[in-house]
């Protein structure tokens, strides 16, 4: 099992290393980290800091995707929480007060939890397809954020406590990096040191079967959407704190796509039933390292094209079929032997999600077939 895991992460890790080396080629001081006024500065620190909000959102997204769901509303939830916190800090009249900031953060995160609970309710209780259920909040959420800010851009200036979340330093390290690191650690412990991770995967493989096996799949699904909402809210605080501005139209815009991308690059299957938190982390770093590289080497306008190229590259590297084809081509005639292995999976899933096959915990052939057919349905909408 351990061997399989390391094998799955090796390709994204190699891509990340390649990207970092490519950055070094263009900027020879890329790996330099300097201590200035007691704080760490440098391109690598920038990458980690910029990746922090994406890491948070992607962690939540990983668990949601592991239950075979998806959460498109994370960007809008970030906008709601960031807007509300900024609005509260500005209207309080005393932006420098720590208490005001704590209230702002507390209530904003509560709103994010409510948003997550709403998504969880739609998906787990009403049984609405996740992509549709979360689409509701994806559109309505930004409208709500606009109502909160009275359609203006808010500037939570002069609030050192709020600035700390996304732009400040603690113990020489940017606070947002620490925060993202701690939450990554907690998530890893909660899912891998307890049964929660296995339960989430079981629900992802087949909610009905896991329910019959005694797992409260409804609660599990609800929990992951709550978690995704909470982390999206935190990311919203981080983003608005970082730029000291809350524009309801642009906070966390398209962050759901970056998060899904990080999850997929990290090897978590969109078919559910399997997830890798470390992979997601690497995925988020790949996205940031690539953005930096493209801005340096080509132009900021070209980042999206390169994002697409890296996605294709990673997916091909992860695809057993593609690897089989490559090895098959090298081995010449032995290719015929490899093909049946690929044909186990339906062609639809193979095209979209490379890591789809070989769900390790699959109960039997029947469940596998169900999960595949659902994947083909939902994947049509995602892509």
């Amino acid at each position: 099992m351990k061997h399989v895991l390391s094998n799955r992460l090796i390709w994204p890790a190699l891509v990340l290393v390649a990207l970092l080396l490519a950055n070094l080629a263009f900027n020879h001081s890329f790996f330099n980290i300097r201590l200035q006024n007691g704080n760490l500065f440098g391109p690598l620190v920038d990458i980690l800091r910029n990746a922090a909000p994406v890491v948070l959102v992607a962690l939540g997204m990983t668990l949601v995707i592991a239950t075979r769901g998806i959460d498109l509303s994370v960007g809008a939830v970030a906008a709601i929480s960031g807007s509300w916190a900024s609005m509260h800090i500005i209207s309080s009249g005393d932006p420098s007060s720590v208490r005001v900031v704590l209230t702002a953060v507390g209530v904003a995160l509560l709103m994010a939890l409510v948003a997550g609970a709403w998504n969880g309710f739609l998906v787990s209780v009403l049984g609405i397809q996740p992509i549709v259920a979360t689409l509701v909040l994806m559109t309505a959420g930004r409208g709500l954020a606009q109502i909160i800010t009275s359609e203006k851009i808010l500037y939570p200036d002069n609030s050192p406590a709020y600035k700390l979340i996304g732009g400040g330093y603690l113990l020489a390290v940017p606070f947002s990096i620490l925060l993202a690191g701690i939450i990554f650690g907690l998530t890893a412990i909660l899912t891998r040191r307890t049964a929660l991770g296995t339960l989430i995967e079981a629900v992802g493989v087949n909610p009905e079967a896991s329910r019959l096996a005694g797992i409260r799949s409804r609660s599990i699904i609800w929990i992951v959407y709550l978690f995704a909402g909470l982390l999206a809210g935190l990311a919203g605080l981080m983003l608005t704190s970082n730029s000291t501005s809350a524009d309801p139209n642009s906070i966390g815009l398209f962050i759901e796509l970056d998060a899904i991308l990080a999850v997929v690059i990290g090897g978590t299957s969109l078919a559910g039933g399997r997830f890798s938190l470390a992979g997601t982390l690497i995925g988020a770093f790949i996205i940031e390292a690539m953005n930096t590289f493209v801005i340096q080497a080509i132009s900021a306008r070209a980042t999206d094209v390169f994002k697409a190229c890296v996605v294709i590259a990673v997916m091909i590297l992860q695809s057993p079929q593609a690897r089989a084809m490559v090895t098959g081509a090298f081995r010449g005639r032995k290719r015929a032997v490899v093909v049946p292995a690929g044909s186990v999976v339906s062609p639809g899933s193979a095209a979209i999600s490379a890591p789809a096959p070989a769900t390790p915990d699959t109960a039997d052939g029947h469940t596998a077939a169900t999960s595949d057919s659902i994947l083909t349905k939902s994947s049509g909408t995602t892509s």
Binding site: F41, K152, I153, Y155, G167, F254, L257, I295, Q296
Partner: protein, 367 residues
């Protein structure tokens, strides 16, 4: 990042449909021929945020038309009824504009009929029609968009009511309105350029970057043109890069982060408005440099937060783009009612601020 792509795509579409504006360089070579710029602004009027969308009407503004308002007897305004149709309340700049007009009306004893169109041209036309039926003495408005005003302006003319445009221009026949009162963005860009010229008089090489406003908007086009008018010929000024930050703080910060990653030797930032300049400050500080010292910053607008940063020494110079045109508006109205001739184009009285002036002006800053 996708947003940038959309902006770029939108710009590309604009460029195609309007048979293409020139590149930055071309604009610098031929500053006089700005009709393309004017055409490009038409669909983008609403996209401008902070600048409040003052379309400086380069369409029909040969220098001869520009003038100052004549001295006039303001007492004629006592109990005069003036209808003002505002664009809406989209930004702090606009709110300051509204407040100033209301305050100036009260000071002059004007009975002001104030309406806000909330960015809707149909609504604005309806208010102007109401003003006509009420037979007000003067109609003033800040048009939501540049086109589609001929019919309602003809109607006002037939009713014998003079019209004054504030802050944004229209493409209608100039004989249909008395004057257009507003900023000249090209002049603003030139002021910024002149400051940079003086500031770096002793430098042998100046590497600068530009944070542009919303692509295709009048303030962005004209502030770039004005800047290049002054510095285009200066060989020691090297433009490393120029990219849109959409007039927002967040946009300015993201673009500046990219610039800082790519160019280690930036000396100067020219931001088309304060908000992007403030974003640049955040990016510069996050990169461990000192804004205002390691990298100098010049911006346009002079809103309160910008003035604060200027007074704190983080910005080096701000060119004012003032929303406070209430007094000029009523002076123009009084002149019209006194049957005096007024120039077809009047510029808003605007200044500029260095760090010391900002410290002095900050306590009284209204917006």
């Amino acid at each position: 990042m996708l947003k940038k792509t959309f902006a770029a795509a939108a710009a590309a579409v604009l460029a195609l449909t309007l048979a293409a504006c020139g590149s930055d360089d071309k604009a610098a070579e031929t500053p006089a021929t700005t009709p393309t710029t004017a055409a490009a602004t038409a669909p983008a009027t609403d996209a401008e945020t902070t600048a409040g969308g003052t379309d400086a009407a380069p369409t029909d503004a040969p220098p001869a038309n520009v003038g100052t308002l004549p001295e006039t007897d303001m007492s004629i305004l006592k109990d005069a009824v003036i209808g003002f149709a505002q664009v809406g309340s989209e930004s702090g700049w606009r709110s300051a504009n509204t407040d100033d007009i209301k305050a100036a009306a009260e000071a002059n004893g004007v009975k002001l009929q104030f309406t806000s169109a909330e960015g809707d041209q149909a609504k604005q036309i309806a208010s102007i029609k109401t003003f006509i039926t009420q037979d007000v003495d003067v109609i003033a408005f800040s048009p939501v968009v540049e086109t589609g005003w001929d019919a309602v302006l003809e109607e006002a003319k037939a009713a014998g009511i003079p019209v004054i445009l504030t802050d944004r221009g229209v493409t209608a026949d100039p004989s249909l309105y008395k004057t257009f009162l507003g900023s000249d963005f090209i002049v603003e860009g030139e002021k910024a350029g002149t400051w940079a010229q003086t500031e770096f008089a002793d430098a042998t090489e100046v590497n600068y970057v530009v944070l542009e406003g919303t692509t295709g908007s009048a303030p962005a086009n004209d502030r770039a043109t004005g800047w290049d008018n002054i510095l285009g010929a200066e060989t020691k000024f090297k433009k490393l890069a120029s990219q849109t930050g959409d007039f927002t703080r967040d946009g300015g910060k993201k673009v500046m982060e990219g610039f800082l990653a790519k160019y280690p030797n930036i000396n100067l930032v020219y931001a088309h408005n304060d908000d992007m300049g403030l974003g640049a400050i955040e990016a510069i500080e996050a990169a461990g440099k000192v804004p205002g010292k390691d990298i100098k910053i010049v911006t346009v607008d002079a809103v309160k937060a910008g003035m604060q940063a200027l007074a704190d020494g983080k910005i080096n110079f701000i060119v004012e783009c003032s929303p406070l045109l209430g007094n000029q508006l009523f002076q123009a109205a009084a002149a019209v009612l006194n049957n005096q001739e007024i120039p077809a184009r009047v510029l808003t009285i605007e200044g500029s601020f260095d760090q010391e002036q900002a410290k002095a002006a900050l306590p009284d800053r209204k917006y």
